[in-house]
């Protein structure tokens, strides 16, 4: 960047040109500079945007500034800045006054003290502002975990993850540890990220969400209305799990098959639903496409794997071994959705063979024949 100096261009501000960020910064600076709670009058006198907007002759201007302060306080609290309300006695105990307080120990990040193994624990008492003591190895793990998570494509938490990484490394010397995991070709998709933001907002605020869904088993998209119970990133894709009005049951939706998600904007401060206490996201994790069913009884499917692939199937717990098969090559699957299962077996290119039921064998053969026919001769776009 060389030795160039920059001159900051600053505007002379009147009250109505003081930005919201400047107003918030003024409010925080004032509250953090006090050891006791401040009354609303003290806050109005100290924060220029409030002070200048009050016309002493107008009661309505005072009410409008009060509403502005209430909105500011609520938004800052929502962002996690713990402004406390306090009620205290004034006039020699004659009356109550409401006040607001922001404790430095609740606001500022405690110092992070990284200890080598040889270090003795400091024995410091644990207080809200005591240094956070962490072993060097633990801090390495934490930073590595944050770096990896920041790269998850289309994650609604990417910016938060990077921000946490900045804060947790604030007290550390610059470090350059080569990452163990790197992602290929997963740069993210703005449309998908926007859908993820909507779904995350819906989940965090428990607001219902509607969207158009392209199910792989249907030609036409269906209109869905759900109460989101959970979000998960599995096998390179994002999924939302929630109660689906159309099926009146819990369903799993792949986010990249959704279009035009719309959040219920009515009564924004009130949740639309409660997440059932018995709901567990873990029950929906680690599933393959054929395991996300329509609630019908699953179809038992026996598959024989060729010699080497049987080791792979066993190692990865695909299905379970059929007990009366001595060599363990035959495994039993509980299949909720036939199409993705058939595609999976087809994709093994003959390394696995469906033994039963006959209906699935017929469907697989029909599909294989269609793929074969589509590849005979030169490609024809209508074929």
């Amino acid at each position: 960047m060389g030795g160039r100096s920059r001159r900051l261009e600053v505007a002379i501000l009147t009250a109505d040109r003081i930005s919201k960020t400047q107003r918030w910064l003024d409010l925080l600076a004032f509250l953090l500079g006090r050891r006791t709670a401040a009354t609303v009058e003290e806050i109005f006198a100290a924060v220029p945007a409030y002070c200048r907007a009050i016309d002493e002759d107008s009661r309505s201007s005072r009410e409008s500034v009060r509403r502005m302060f209430e909105r500011d306080k609520d938004e800052l609290r929502t962002a996690g800045i713990p402004i406390e309300s306090e009620r205290f006695l004034v006039n020699f105990g004659g009356e109550f006054e409401d006040g607001y307080r922001l404790r430095a120990s609740d606001f500022y990040l405690p110092r992070v003290r990284v200890e080598d193994e040889a270090d003795e624990p400091s024995g410091r008492r644990t207080t809200r502002d005591a240094p956070f003591e962490v072993a060097a190895e633990e801090m390495d793990v934490t930073l590595a975990a944050l770096r990896e998570a920041a790269d998850i494509p289309d994650s609604p938490f990417s910016a938060d993850t990077r921000s946490a990484l900045r804060k947790l490394s604030f007290d550390l010397d610059p470090i350059s540890v080569e990452p163990i995991v790197f992602r290929v070709g997963e740069t993210g998709n703005p449309e998908l990220r926007s859908t993820m933001e909507t779904l995350t907002d819906a989940l965090l605020r428990r607001k219902r969400v509607s969207f158009s869904y392209h199910s792989p088993s249907r030609e036409q998209p269906t209109s869905r209305h759900i109460a989101a119970y959970g979000l998960m990133f599995e096998n390179g894709s994002w999924y939302v799990v929630g109660h689906d009005d159309l099926r009146d049951d819990i369903r799993v939706f792949r986010v990249d098959r959704m279009e035009t998600p719309v959040l219920n904007r009515k009564r924004p401060g009130t949740p639309d639903y409660e997440i059932p206490t018995g709901f567990s996201l873990a029950e929906y994790r680690d599933r393959r496409a054929w395991q996300y069913g329509d609630g019908d009884d699953p179809v038992p499917v026996q598959v024989r794997f060729s010699g080497p692939l049987s080791m792979w199937a066993e190692r990865n717990d695909f299905g379970r071994p059929v007990e009366d098969e001595a060599d363990g090559d035959v495994r039993l699957f509980e299949v909720h959705q036939a199409d993705p299962f058939i595609d999976w077996v087809l994709g093994l290119a003959g390394g696995a063979e469906i033994l039963s039921p006959p209906t699935l064998i017929s469907r697989l053969l029909a599909r294989a024949e269609a793929v074969g026919v589509a590849h005979e001769g030169e490609f024809a776009s209508g074929g």
């Binding site: 960047m1 633990e138 604030f170 098959r257 060729s306």
Partner: protein, 326 residues
């Protein structure tokens, strides 16, 4: 000039990091600030101008004043004893940290797994502005599905400690499993599939292995170091991981849901009939066959013709499997 500051909340988040970082003895360069905050230098300058502008409405030398100087493109801040530290982790940052650590723990075994979860809880209780609530159980980024495979945890350990591995690998072509000695350099993830890239002592070359196809693995006591000229990026190609010594261009045509997903991923134009053509460099011709078979008719190879012929041969082999003996 376009306003790049974003919402007040986003700008405040930046400032509450920028002010303490630039309050330190040596300040902070504009370039460093921009890099750390994932914004451009102009946005940092606009943020600083907003802070400086406060001087015009605060009494000179007032307690709320924050003095900002940019000299030789280095930011120095004097804030009268305030904003000398970043603020605590916000609820979303604390949640993100918790999810990141839980994800990391999922890739580890036994005590290592438990100790990472312990750090997650300690950070949430000591450094967050408020507790991480049950939302942490409503979101999962663990990625521990079967495309990762049980070899992932020991591989992470081997890479972190620089220790050689002995493994048995089942390749996709149905050949007999092979024993390999591997110096694992890095793990790569592409479209949900996990790979390890490293020096294969058996083949005396750098090779790529799909983690779920490693059917047994032992971390040895033998150390290794990663060559300085190794670049993981050289092995990533258009969402696939492979050595790029010899590749063939294959054009795939997708239809239905697959078409819209591929259009989003590749940016390819959608044809008038709703299908999408995607050109991919393919290292293993049989990969292209497995790829179209796995789409069960929603994908077709347009060119080259020998790749199309391989698909026909594969479907013939599959049909033969189901033909009654004799």
């Amino acid at each position: 000039m376009a306003d790049k500051r974003g919402s007040a909340s986003v700008q405040l988040t930046r400032l509450l990091y920028l002010l303490p970082a630039a309050s330190r003895e040596n300040g902070l360069s504009l370039a460093e600030a921009a890099e750390r905050l994932d914004v451009d230098v102009e946005t940092v300058v606009q943020d600083l101008e907003d802070v400086s502008a406060r001087e015009f409405y605060h009494p000179a030398g007032g307690a709320e004043g924050i003095r900002v100087e940019v000299e030789a493109d280095r930011i120095h801040v004097q804030s009268g004893g305030k904003f000398l530290r970043p603020r605590r982790l916000s609820p979303r940052e604390a949640l993100a940290t918790h999810l990141a650590l839980r994800r990391f723990a999922a890739g580890l075994d036994g005590d290592a797994h438990d100790s990472v979860l312990d750090i997650a809880h300690r950070i949430a209780s000591a450094l967050a502005s408020m507790p991480v609530d049950d939302l942490a159980d409503r979101i999962s980024v663990e990625e521990t599905g079967d495309l990762a495979g049980p070899a992932l945890a020991p591989l992470r350990k081997a890479i972190a400690t620089g220790l050689q591995c002995e493994l048995v690998y089942v390749s996709a072509d149905g050949a007999l499993p092979t024993e390999r000695v591997l110096d694992p350099y890095v793990i790569a993830v592409a479209r949900g599939h996990w790979y390890v890239i490293g020096f294969c002592g058996t083949r005396n070359a750098v090779r790529v292995f799909r983690v779920d196809r490693i059917v047994s693995l032992r971390v040895t006591e033998q150390g290794f170091s990663v060559p300085s000229d190794f670049r993981a990026e050289d092995y990533g190609h258009d969402g696939q991981v492979f050595r790029s010594d010899e590749t063939t261009d294959v054009v795939f045509r997708y239809r239905g849901t697959a078409a819209s997903i591929m259009a989003d991923r590749s940016g390819a134009e959608v044809h008038s009939d709703g299908t999408v053509s995607v050109l991919r460099a393919v290292a293993d011709p049989e990969w292209a066959v497995r790829h179209v078979l796995g789409f069960g008719g929603a994908a077709v190879i347009e060119t080259p013709s020998d790749a199309r012929a391989r698909v026909v041969a594969a479907t013939d082999r599959i049909s033969l499997l189901y033909r009654p003996a004799g």
